[in-house]
């Protein structure tokens, strides 16, 4: 059973969870249309993925709306196994980083190091 934790609810209460969910669905449909079409995901499926993402992100101390959004986008970009990918797992589990710092680090690595490593194998 999915549980939205108190910490997340605290972070999201001002913004209204339903509103957040709806706007994120719109955002995902705009930015990840090929993935959504490929897997034939309807709104209900997307809500399910978002709620799963909320729960998973909470385990990494990722609470804010912005950081949760980024986390869920990575799930869409790299798949359900994103959390265990060799470049992502050490960052997500780093105890010295805050949730925001983890997402900032993932942004940087995916924009520079990861992409460049992929290029070097071309």
């Amino acid at each position: 059973m999915l549980t939205i934790t108190k910490a997340q609810m605290e972070a999201l209460k001002a913004a209204d969870f339903r509103r957040f969910e709806s706007e994120l669905i719109t955002r995902l449909r705009e930015n990840f249309a090929p993935v959504i079409e490929k897997h034939d995901l309807d709104d209900a499926s997307l809500r399910q993925i978002i709620r799963q993402g909320l729960v998973r992100s909470e385990t990494y101390q990722i609470y804010s709306e912005y950081d949760v959004t980024r986390f869920i986008e990575y799930v869409f970009e790299y798949g359900n196994q994103f959390e265990s990918l060799p470049w992502a797992a050490p960052i997500l589990t780093a105890s010295h980083l805050s949730g925001e710092e983890k997402m900032d680090r993932l942004d940087a690595v995916s924009a520079f190091s990861l992409r460049q490593n992929e290029e070097s194998y071309r």
Partner: protein, 330 residues
């Protein structure tokens, strides 16, 4: 952090990524190497995802990504705001660099030295009276610092025009000086007069076989120039020379001359240095400019950094006490 103010929206636009890469490496292809983007041999290095010193390079990449059509999001919102706003400007943590230019020997600030820094940004400034050029708002990274003197002085220019000339050579007759005489004082007399700084002459008895057969007017010799009590030369003495001053050295032990005299020339360029600046750094670099003079040697008019100056390098206070500088122009 990708950038401190904007984030490429996911998924990344591969065409914009390629364009941003090209723009970044092209913009920095002439930066001093090795640096964050190129090794010493010019091979590309990957931009670091985490090195704080490369924050501005990452921002530059993100700007290029946006310019190439990649979608950027505002990251200035945090917990209580939503992503998605498009932004235009990024501001990474900049650095400052203070370059101090000093003369050597006879340490003093060099005014009017053009200091150029090249690296993530290329800028030039001219030093003030304290010999300082301060560069602000610099993207972090490695810089090469060079300096050259750009001040002008009429007398120094006149003297330097004659570099290489043999008109004042020891073996050459240059009236009223016959051949096989040292003519450093004649050279100084000629160029100071041409530059508009008149110097009085003094009578000199012409003798042969102990018999005086005439009197000629001759320019002051090195000893006259080096004599601070001279009533012949009234141009003021100074302790710290500048280009365009007369520099004179008197040595009573000399037999064929009374010493040597020349014109203080422009200093040599500073030795290029490199400095790596991290975000927020207030870096300092010192540039040394070697003093030079122009004078008549045995063969030609030469500009060098040894005659007169080597005594200061050696700390030879006996000899340096025999050197005097006179300021011709105010």
């Amino acid at each position: 952090m990708t950038s401190n103010c904007s984030r490429p929206a996911r998924p990344l636009n591969s065409q914009a990524v390629a364009a941003a890469d090209q723009a970044l490496y092209t913009a920095h292809k002439n930066d001093p190497r090795p640096n964050a983007l190129f090794d010493a041999a010019g091979r590309k290095r990957h931009l670091s995802a985490t090195d704080p010193a490369q924050e501005c390079l990452r921002d530059e990449w993100v700007r290029s990504y946006g310019n190439a059509g990649g979608k950027l999001e505002d990251t200035t919102f945090k917990s209580d705001k939503r992503p998605g706003d498009v932004i235009q400007e990024c501001h990474c943590s900049k650095a400052t660099l203070t370059v101090t230019v000093r003369y050597e020997p006879l340490d003093a600030p060099v005014k009017d030295a053009a200091v150029t820094i090249s690296g993530p940004a290329t800028k030039s400034l001219t030093t003030d009276a304290t010999g300082i050029a301060k560069f602000t708002d610099l993207p972090p990274g490695q810089y090469e610092i060079t300096s050259r003197y750009v001040g002008t002085n009429k007398l120094a220019d006149h003297a330097r025009l004659q570099i290489g000339s043999t008109d004042w050579a020891r073996a050459t007759a240059h009236p009223p000086f016959p051949r096989n005489t040292w003519k450093c004082n004649l050279f100084v007399f000629d160029v100071t007069t041409e530059a508009g700084f008149p110097v009085p002459q003094k009578p000199h008895e012409q003798k042969k076989f102990g018999i005086t057969f005439g009197t000629v007017m001759l320019p002051p010799n090195a000893e006259d120039w080096a004599n601070s009590s001279s009533t012949l030369i009234t141009y003021p003495t100074v302790a710290t020379p500048e280009p365009g001053d007369v520099v004179a050295y008197a040595n009573p032990a000399y037999t064929a001359a009374t010493g040597h005299v020349g014109i203080v020339s422009y200093p040599k360029n500073g030795t290029p240095e490199t400095k790596t600046l991290s975000p927020g750094d207030n870096g300092n670099v010192k540039q040394i400019m070697r003093r030079q003079s122009v004078s008549a040697g045995g063969v030609s008019i030469d500009e060098d950094d040894q005659i007169f100056w080597h005594y200061y390098d050696e700390g030879n206070t006996v000899e340096t006490s025999r050197i005097l500088f006179r300021r011709m122009s105010p």
